[in-house]
């Protein structure tokens, strides 16, 4: 059975495990959170676009 990501009803809280993901970058390539965390913290900024 495939692993279906859980969709939280509210923004995830401080202390929670951050869901892993991979997304394409405008600068090229695909970035994966767990891989980036090997190098240091990551500030995820969910923004509307060119702001």
């Amino acid at each position: 059975m495939p692993d279906v990501p859980r969709i939280p009803a509210h923004p995830i809280e401080v202390g929670a495990i951050a869901p892993d993901f991979s997304l394409p970058s405008a600068q090229g390539g695909v970035l994966t959170l767990t891989a980036a965390l090997q190098h240091g913290p990551v500030l995820l900024w969910f923004a509307p676009g060119m702001v």
């Binding site: 990501p5 859980r6 969709i7 939280p8 009803a9 509210h10 923004p11 995830i12 809280e13 401080v14 202390g15 929670a16 495990i17 951050a18 869901p19 993901f21 997304l23 394409p24 970058s25 405008a26 600068q27 090229g28 970035l31 959170l33 767990t34 980036a36 965390l37 090997q38 190098h39 240091g40 913290p41 990551v42 500030l43 995820l44 900024w45 969910f46 923004a47 509307p48 676009g49 060119m50 702001v51």
Partner: protein, 145 residues
Amino acid sequence: MAQVRLTYPEIKRRGAEVWQITPTPAAQAALYARRFDLPFPYLCDADRATHRRYGLGSKGVLASLKAGLESLPGMLAGSVKGEQPSPVPYMSGGLGSGAMEQGMFLVGRDGRVHFRHIADIHAHIPSNDTLLGALDALSSPSSPP
């Protein structure tokens, strides 16, 4: 982006990275990357799946429409001046149809969220001092959680 760009060197000095995650389609984002000096990774979450996994939802039709109308003049002006690509791809799905809750999550090397800020559409993001303070707290030995 300008505010975070200003403090980005300090964030990097603390060993951290910034990822801007947007609903921008990949083709549109590639145009941005060619035209602008994007200081940090600009990621495309066109289907909003990652937004939803972090619990960020749509702000509803009225809020979306308001956000779309507010941003339209700037997008059109930028497009006419050649500073931005055409806004047509955004509008093709309905003006403001993609407006989502915004937020910042600081994820530590332990994979946990150590700081978060949830904002309304076009609301201000935390001050640079707040962001750097969160990073400093993360590197402190007694850092919660």
